[in-house]
């Protein structure tokens, strides 16, 4: 029988800890497929942040360094400078990157570090139980914004893909979503492009995934997918915000 769909070779055959309905698993799969297709698994090192992303080391057949909360881009900087022939990626949630780690991500991007950052934006702190993040939508109720996020007191949700696109060191900054098969296919292309650009030494690449957290959003998995379409995408538009075409720096 002709097998047309199988587990990527870069993933370990094991159940994940992710909640049913969570799209972290899809992001993992896309990255693993990208490593397989580019044949770089054996020279790739992953650096997850703290949160639901941390268990990446249980699922990928690659070397992994566990970074302190928000610091993965700095760890990745040291690692890539030490081993420029390796592929180094960080995998951060929105609490990790957009809150505690803003300094590290902005300066790694601004230096144009030749690393790839995968950024999973589900608008809450997932692992700790659904607290408000800088990405939480206006009006969104969380355990620490029980009356709904209010711009007068909590400010507006932060758009990382657009923010990073303003920096000269950034070669590629894109926002994709994981809520429909079509979007998953587009996300896959973005993952492969980002990794390919790192292989081509183009500079800093970042892929933001809009992702579900149905458990902490207190909705069903299907409703969560709908929330991405109806509520997240209008505020976090999908698209390429920066794409360098050559090794040109200014």
């Amino acid at each position: 029988m002709n097998k047309i769909f199988e587990r990527p070779k870069s993933l370990i055959d094991t159940p994940t800890h992710f909640c049913p309905g969570c799209t972290h698993g899809i992001a993992h799969r896309l990255i693993a497929e990208g490593l397989d297709e580019l044949n770089i698994t054996e020279r790739t090192i992953g650096i997850p942040g703290v949160g639901c992303s941390v268990f990446l080391y249980n699922y990928f057949l690659i070397d992994v360094l566990e970074a302190p909360h928000g610091r993965a881009p700095a760890c990745a900087t040291g690692m890539k400078r030490a081993q420029p022939d390796k592929i180094v990626f960080a995998y951060q949630g929105d609490g990790d990157m957009a809150a505690i780690g803003t300094s590290e991500i902005i300066h790694a991007a601004n230096r144009g570090e030749n690393i790839t950052v995968f950024y999973v934006n589900n608008s809450v702190y997932g692992m700790t139980g659904g607290q408000m993040a800088p990405t939480t939508l206006l009006g969104q109720q969380t355990t620490t914004s029980p009356y709904g996020r209010e711009f007068k007191t909590e400010g507006y949700p932060i758009r990382m893909a657009e923010l990073l696109a303003t920096l000269e060191g950034v070669a590629y900054s894109v926002r994709v979503s994981l809520h429909t098969p079509k979007n998953v296919n587009q996300a896959k292309k973005a993952v492969v492009k980002a990794l390919q650009m790192q292989m081509d030494e183009m500079g800093f690449t970042m892929v933001e995934f809009l992702s579900t957290c149905n458990t902490n959003w207190r909705v069903t998995p299907l409703e969560a997918l709908d929330i991405i379409e109806r509520e997240m995408i209008p505020y976090f538009p999908l698209g390429v915000f920066k794409e360098r075409t050559g090794k040109d720096f200014l």
């Binding site: 302190p68 700095a74 900087t77 081993q83």
Partner: protein, 351 residues
Amino acid sequence: MSTVRKLTKGNIALAKGAIEAKCQFYFGYPITPQNDIPEYLALNLPKVGGIFIPAESEIASINMVMGAAASGMRALTSSSGPGISLMQEALSYMAGSDIPCVVVNIMRCGPGLGGIAPTQGDYNQAVHGGGHGDYHNIVLAPASVQEMFDLTIKAFELSDKYRNPAMIISDAMIGQFQEPCRLTPKEPIIVPEKPWALTGASKRKPQLLKSLYLADGEQEAHNLIMKEKYDRMRENETLSEAYQLDDAEIMIIAFGLPSRIAKTAIQNARAEGIMVGLLRPITLFPFPEKAAYEYSSKIKNVLVVEMNTGQMLRDVENYSHRETKISFYGRPGGGVPYPDDIVREIKRALE
């Protein structure tokens, strides 16, 4: 080994020691009084194929060190008080993940922004763990420009040997003054193989450096393995200098800068017929507890001199013979004792 000595500034000797130790990676953020170190390395690391990054913060610096060290490289950062405080998170992670590195603290006064005069206020932070969790740094305390060079090499050796962060604590005076210094290593530098390094899972199983242990009993088992490592350090790695202790009736215990001033005080006191000597801890962790116990059980009168309000004092009290009389003379906040001050305190302790 060359015996030629060149007039060298303390911080520069330290930076040269790092290059001699085959450290190829430096990440740092400016803070006085240690800026000579990054400035020297920014100029000279590229000449030996190394990498220098002026990081955006001390948090980024130490995490870049973690990334390079996890790759199997010798990596260094340096800072002072407030910057070292910012590094504590990552130091804890590196201790927990068995990642070696060398961190230099050219101490400045505190708490807070403090001042930049010579001081020893960060003993507790360095020796008793400034970060969270049950761990220790290896801590070395140079007292001369030569030791700034030699102990930097030693710090890399110990750090790699035990896969644990090593810290050098010094002060603005030792960092900034010049002395003749031999700028070649005492022994050939051998960087050990690091099969644990994260270099890509090619022709071997994937490797992992982490400090998260959630399964029942896993973290406790990990902490007990770390304790065995610290016990091995206590058994094998303590360094101290004994100075004029054979006939002493009172023993000064001091590290770093005050130990030098104490030597002048000892000469002056001996000229007056006071039999006094010095025990100088060179490793602060592991503390030279056997030396402290053995000398104190013989001499039984100890004067601890520090440039703080009494931090190493608690370790001396802990490790000395229980019948030892222990006095303390401390100058915090940038105060530096004169030899006469110490002679006065010796006489007081003998009363």
